[in-house]
Symmetry: C2
Subunit: 432 residues, 2 copies
Amino acid sequence: MVPHLVTALNGPLLELEKKILAATPAIERWFRLEWQEHTPPFYCWVDLRNAGFKLAPVDTNLFPGSFNYLAPEVLPLAVQASMAAIEKYCPEARNIVVVPENCIDNPCYQKNLGILVQILRQVGLNVRLGALPEQLDQDLHLDLPDGSTLHLEPLVRSPNGRRVGLKDFDPCTVLLNNDLSQGIPSILENLHEQTLLPPVHAGWSLRRKTNHFAAYDEVAKKFGKLIDVDPWMLNPYFIKCGQINFQERDGADSLAANVDTLLAKIRKKYREYGIKEKPFIIVKADVGTYGKGIITVRDAKEIRDIERYRDVKLSAIKDGHEVTDVIIQEGVYTFERMNEAVTEPVVYMIDRFVIGGFYRVHAERGSDENLKAPGAGFVPLAFAQQHAIPDLRAQPGTAAPNRFYMYGVVARLALLAASLEMERTDPNPEIY
Amino acid sequence: MVPHLVTALNGPLLELEKKILAATPAIERWFRLEWQEHTPPFYCWVDLRNAGFKLAPVDTNLFPGSFNYLAPEVLPLAVQASMAAIEKYCPEARNIVVVPENCIDNPCYQKNLGILVQILRQVGLNVRLGALPEQLDQDLHLDLPDGSTLHLEPLVRSPNGRRVGLKDFDPCTVLLNNDLSQGIPSILENLHEQTLLPPVHAGWSLRRKTNHFAAYDEVAKKFGKLIDVDPWMLNPYFIKCGQINFQERDGADSLAANVDTLLAKIRKKYREYGIKEKPFIIVKADVGTYGKGIITVRDAKEIRDIERYRDVKLSAIKDGHEVTDVIIQEGVYTFERMNEAVTEPVVYMIDRFVIGGFYRVHAERGSDENLKAPGAGFVPLAFAQQHAIPDLRAQPGTAAPNRFYMYGVVARLALLAASLEMERTDPNPEIY
């Protein structure tokens, strides 16, 4: 089942789908050449929003969980892509440790770990799970509903202090499935003999959304030129707004002024394309993830309003870090609906390959709200027919594989932006 | 649907499946390291025979057709694998010409070409079909049942004679889907500026089955050691027998003596493993393909018998080449049955990746006969559940994905043998 688009004005997106399908050989060659210059993150998911008139990534996650939401049929693609990745980083690799997220008690997350272990074993690695010392101080056995068992062990530094591993297991690669939003754990600092995937500066304690979207700006510009579309069709405007002290209301005026500026820019574009929707803005902490602290703003006066401003404090940010920098980003409506529930596609990639995806279906949310927030209405729905190759003869907008191909292209633009971002923010570029 | 095994003595194969599944990380790592040393052919299919007590490749085809027999769901794996291949040979590649087989009038072959073109386009290449001048002297449009059109054009040398292409199309890569069994066409000779995939010495006019199986001997030995099994479980014995003049009956005695020797070796192994079946031998021309000129021999006296010897003449060899060298190979029963019809698995690979496969189901053939011969009873049947990853907890012999994984491992042993064979038979190793 493929969500339907509830917008009369879906002309531009059908045009985009048509252009992307027609330009497939050029697009794939362009990616091939870009990947000669840049190294993709080991894995990644990208949240997209499809507004009918615009299709854009809104979040690029370098520590993807929820592999259990993918259709099992795509796992061979994940295995094949991981083989290509491991070959590049460390062909000799024998042992790998996966560092799990903090929510190891969550049954859903445990299933995700189970799938990750399955994939990596099939790639040709001895896989073990090593938890951060702050998560675990002794071995833990978790029984999964499918009858398998996960065995978690505490990470330890090697006696000489140069490596990290488990008591009797020396990995050459450490795969982080933990987004390090609480900071870089000391046990992972100063490791120069092992490959950390992704590198620690991909962690949310160091990463900034504005760095990502600045890189995405460049990528979208190049891509727009390649297939001759306005890059705005793929790219939400944004402004970085810093030095805000939410406790003291410092910076509220500057925030409101920036919201005004951005709304004016969006209104201009909406006029240009005859879009009748009401523009809106998303204000997010520049640091942090997990869909918390994300506020929808439709007018700058909401920022000036004290009650509302309190909401915008974004104090709910993961792990309690205080916010001083925010990203003010053009909101992108999601006009895809599944049985009337709002949906947004999530595309999974390993290395440079799209391996599959699912829809976030959220019955209780509006088309201008973040769907990643937890809530009773959230249902994952694996893409249908995702393992089919596009049908060139289908009418734009009618074939699921064609829509997914377009999603895969835009998600890979965000993936490429993430590689640029990682290169530019690398604290030790010489040993990268 | 998975064929069932009709043999009481399937113990050893279940043991093999168990060992292969348990050793997956070691096996995949071993392949990864082998592919650091050796380059896999661009594409390949391998015919396997599953005797319950033994599983072995019997034919390794470096010009695979019949892509239309694969389940459409595996095409994304084919695209992903081809991307990895093209990146290695020629990341800059923009244009590719596919040279079709001689049977371009065959509707089934035309469908195969249609799929190949789809895959390569998705990889990011402009794809056109260039027929050999002896096949075609003007453009040809072929309408396929799915509504698409194939456009074939005659290959031409560039004005300076250094490149091959089409009238207005200069490819950097030429993909041969024609096995060159009639010899290397002059239009493909002395091309040093373009990548030919596979190289012309993979063509059946130069290739010898005995070179392949000699390389396979080595690979099977190494692999047997890795997972601790008798390599014979995966490897049919063979003897090369040369200087036979079938017209004059020269060499009949030597042929018969070799058949005797080989039958004695097989009998010994059958005794070792308590196998009650009757050993048999396959005599094949050392050159040539297409399943013609393949004779089953159960006793050396059949060779001495004049009538039978005439059959063994193998004069039906493709494109009428005369046979002087034969390979005498241990026959491997196929004990897989689908609704009582004899079946044998065919595994497809692109670059170093298994992408899928199908069963040849042949109602009119016996378990000791070649199933590739054309005949009314031949039905292709795409592997079921082929895009699933193995289930470690399943009992040996019960899970389709586990059986296919084992097939994929053995097929890749043959693929690796083909790379060794190509290295060793390369007439210009310095420019390889």
